[in-house]
Assembly symmetry: D4
Homo-oligomer: 228 residues x 8
């Protein structure tokens, strides 16, 4: 009977997979969208109890969920910009992942990516407001890009930043389109298409606003990279 | 009776507007798509007879049309890359329009834009192969961009070049998305959307592969600009 | 270290590029969408302090932001229709840009375009309610169209106005599709596609509702045009 | 048994509805796309035999089908531009339907509409090359528009003509978008969307390139209209 | 000066075309979307004053606008289902237009079409809840369909009703897709596409939820039809 | 080592799953698109050798593949309309699946569905040319619909037939949209969307032109149904 | 006169088809979207009065409708997750339909499907949280899948679950895409497309979030299946 | 003058960037689409002359280009399945990249990815025909997946394979959607959307059919990974 499967925590309203770390080496993560604040608290608590020695991450939390979690779990660390929380100690970072963002409005996605990288065991280097319409700022941080194990590049609107960054360095890169824009940005589809069509070789892409997915990939790459 | 309207040349299969120059100051143009080679020759000849002192332009000619035209109208100048011909003397150029292209595959669209600019009375400066994944080439021609009256910037795939150029200079710019690409480029829609969402202010856009439209706009701007 | 880059004003939550005027000749602009009212005030104040002699523009301000700005910056000029503010003296206008709008509902976009033109140093001529279903009004203002240095033409729904205007005059034109409409207007995509496919030569297009972008382009053209 | 249903002619490869005239008052029509030339001939012959006193129409015939039909049915009238044939005498026309076309490339669709109108019993008035970028031609035929019982207005690219015509007259109108164009015309979708969003009241629309459908509707309206 | 054009009523916030009746024979109409209740009242009052002898129509009014109008203009007739009002006497009806609706949820669009037909001078016959999944109801009203001068057929979801009605009768028809549905109905696009691809000849289509446009076309056809 | 997996036949260019029958009770099927005629022959032969007692099906064969197969495998049964072949004896049919098609052009998809049903062990009843614009034919076969175990309903263009059939009977139904149509049919997407939005309860849908998929589902349902 | 048609219950605001059971063998169902709570109560009551011996189902009820119904009809059974109610005794179940859901967020759609199956006379087996990223859970319930008469498989995001289930068993299956996801999920279109393109043979699909439609089809199949 | 820029090889028809290796550590690559066979030969020769010690790669070569290259450059290694060639010695592989493909039709894209991985310096492990509808094959190669430094997972149709693989292992993964499919696969868009919405964390995606891009990313990750 799978009810007694030790890889599953049955909370009644959900059957939580608590075996992911064994399979993939990654921490447990709660995707908060569509869950009530109480459900988020219950899942965080259950996962934390099984593995108190490593951080659990919850993402996509509405303001009220962030509020309920902060009161119910005083030990949780709240990241208001990323709309996410962690519970338990962050791992010692291995390698470095710059999270490069084009504009101020991309901050929530960049913050989600950065927190995800940290929870998944890699070091983070935030580089903000380096949009392609002002190249001097981007060219000024070229050394930090080159020193990385994997890059996360976040941009909305025309989504051009990954192409320019990809021309400057051969470091593995994940591009994250954001829904920043209006009209013909089509909710981020314009940036997504641009990144998929990048003329820079080796740019890989995740879903619109999916800082979490980019962070997981980048941290996995950084963790397994030869130290510089 | 509009049949005797002196602003119209009735060729039987088409009623050609020969009054455009009076209304807009631009030369007559034949859009070749969907016309037989013989029709193209007939229209070119009719327009040239009315105004032998200025060039007529025919665009979007299939290889066989280019061949028929070159034999029927030996005085016509054939541009194989642009798939276009001119008949009659080009005007003296006023002002300068750089036509900036991202990649080799964008050459036909860039050539159509360049020829259109020349026929419409402005000077052309071709700048090729300056894609955003190799910024050093683009930065190397910054002076030529700054010296322009209007820019035409041509790019396919992710369409990022106008954003980068628009960050380097405040010269008026027309961006031309091309259908170069595959898969998620959706026949040039990805580049079109990117250009419409450019974070560089003042970028205007024309239809996919529409070098002609960009050339008309740029030449009009250049013709009326204060000489430098 | 780019933190000390004199071209950047670091406000903590954003790194503001205060060097644009040197690069492009244009004023500083704050894109208000996604920023808190307090952030808008802080950026406006910072930019104004650096360059008190020229106007700063803030666009896409929600009603509460307009309210906060008007109270915090009593010298700011509020444009409720354009949902925008300026701070500092407008430049002396050079050249003329008619802003032509098809319908009453297009007024916010037309107002944003008009204010942008003025802030960027060109003169504005507003021509409203000249939709293509009532040609007599449009034909009545033909002289004002012909006298222009660059046209901004604003229309929603079927977006036909630029084609008709483009048949009347050869003045350089920027067309602005608006999101006015419902159903198959697809949030302005119908008007955008129509303008990109205009049979009038030389029509260039900006993003849906992007009065700002059209105004920047038109003002740049007008500023550099030979006085009539 | 429906095999013996007198309303159906069973040709083996198809069961032809020969009862439409009784139900709708319209002639029999063969949609030629996807049928072999021999099948077209067989259906035309069968329908003509049942009702030799009235014309049968076949549309969307490929060049080889036109050729086979003209040889197999010497009495058939071939319309090469419309890619259609009729067999049997056309009815006496009742009322008038102008078929108004924007450009030369729209001729095949306009010709299909015109022939359909005639076969369905209304008079046709062809008005060609009256695109919106040259208003003087359109304004010159205003009397012919006003004198109509129903209008068919055909346009590709930006599809603006119905809006302009609809502002000139209150005659019932059917708009036909064509696939003329490239790039962002999306195979005629741009013109289709424009017509559906027309600001002129009462514009109705048919499928892209569907001259036949527009002709049926317009002829039905003309046939039942009070004579002028 | 067009300010004194007697065909225009200048209300400050809008320039109202009061000449439409002379051009098209139709009444004045106010499109209420995007207008404040006070603007609607002002325009209705101005139009009514010029032509008190015939009804003015205002459509797409939000509940608060309906409320304001009913208090400010006690003589106005309010149609809560159609979200529309009329002011002034309805014309004597000429001819008959059945408004056929597939489902209960299509009622607002059908009501807008019906009121528009009445205001534009034709008689209305409402036929509701005759969706194609219950053919017996539709077959039961076949006589009323046949007796019509023009049909308005309203349906959401799969939009199949016009095809079935078009197979039953040859009366001219306008199909109105509605936004009723969810998921893959894409806000009414599924019904719109179905109607544009109808296998019944002569079906014409208007924009999603555009009962007004269908009503204008149908009333025009009915008014000019030979009485039965 | 999976190379020796008895469930796989390794043909060099492909590893063929020969275990499907054990897992699902269905015959082996070769999807011919993208395979050379020789590959199709090789796979058919290999599958037939393992299970000579039951038919193998190959679908989506180009004309040359049909030709090569008929010569290489003289025992194969060729279905030119379905562009498919079977090799080996068809099973004894259990239950009945009517394959109902709207128009003549839908014949290839209907034929693929019918052959698939037969190969998968159910009886087939073909009902053709029963489009919704001629209801009398459809109403005439109502008894055959009611007597079925599962229906396959095939239609292109507006895809309305499943809704009408679904209103006549409660027999389980699979709807198959076809790519028959042009313009706004968008290659069958219009019919697909219509079927997904059917107002008739219980209509399920497969991919455009996927007669095979519909046939598999319908045959499975028919095989397990209580005999009538 | 159809007003007295005994197959129709005329409630004033709607004409309810009370004859479906006779035609299709299924219970009456009220689609609650777009209806007021009072209308839902009235229709439920009317249908229940005609057929008190079998359950009536109402779906897509907003929270306030659920509340009104529970107070007005104390005998109704409320399903808060499915947002649905039943009134009257459920039928004795025949056959078994597992409702298999990929994630917790798919619960509302799965609940609607399950309740629909039960109301339509088949037995339900709920299998939740068996997403493809954790195959061990799915493989653990393989026996329950194999024992079914028809499967309902519910998934959002990438919609991969039906393909994996379809590889495990040959039981007839209906796949239900859900709108769970963000960005490039396009409101469930990504999952819908994935299911339509499933490489597992015989997967049929319903509209996004249409648990009701899947339940109707599956129950019909189960009811007519040979008992195991 | 950039003409003498040592980082550029000017071949007349193209300006080839020969500096990429210095910037990114990757080999030179020729994108063959849109280039004549002679141009491909010329560029390959030029790049090979500058760096004879390392392989040059040319992709997307039409059959005639493969033929011309093989005759003009006898030392080139031709990969007919990948439609690609290499010239010069492959580097010693570092790390391992399995290229996992769902179906036989995905072979060209998988071959392009595999060759790209090899040219970029990593080892390749090909795993073919492991579609999700036959899980046993995929589960049989789980060890090879776990032993990898980075995975390339290739699938068309519903694109489900990356989600299933991503649930089995935490190795960094790049997913490649292919254009294999028909109808609602929309040329690979269905698979692309599915992969972008994968419920498995950390899946990154490249353009449709872009085996090259996936190979570059995966090889970069593998080269820098700690040896196992």
């Amino acid at each position: 009977m799978d009810q007694q499967d030790p890889r599953i925590a049955d909370l009644g309203f959900a059957r939580v997979d608590i075996d992911r770390a064994a399979r993939t080496g990654d921490p447990e993560v709660v995707y908060g969208a569509g869950k009530t604040p109480d459900q988020v608290v219950a899942i965080l608590r259950a996962l934390h109890e099984r593995h108190p020695e490593r951080a659990v991450l919850a993402t996509r939390l509405a303001p009220e969920a962030l509020d309920v979690v902060s009161r119910a779990l005083p030990d949780a660390a709240i990241d208001l910009v990323a709309r996410a929380v962690t519970l338990g100690p962050l791992p010692t970072p291995t390698g470095t992942v710059p999270v490069v963002a084009a504009g101020t409005s991309d901050a929530p996605v960049a913050a989600e990516a950065a927190l995800t990288v940290a929870v998944h065991g890699a070091g983070v280097d935030r580089i903000d407001d380096v949009g392609v319409a002002g190249l001097h700022r981007l060219l000024g941080v070229r050394d930090r890009l080159e020193a990385a194990d994997c890059l996360v590049v976040v941009a909305g609107m025309e989504g051009a930043l990954p192409s320019v960054v990809g021309g400057l360095t051969g470091v593995p890169m994940v591009a994250v389109p954001t829904s920043v824009g209006y009209g013909a940005s089509l909710g981020g589809v314009a940036a997504l298409l641009a990144m998929l069509n990048s003329c820079a070789p080796g740019v890989t892409v995740v879903n619109i606003d999916n800082g979490y997915g980019a962070g997981v990939h980048a941290a996995r790459v950084a963790r397994q990279s030869v130290p510089r």
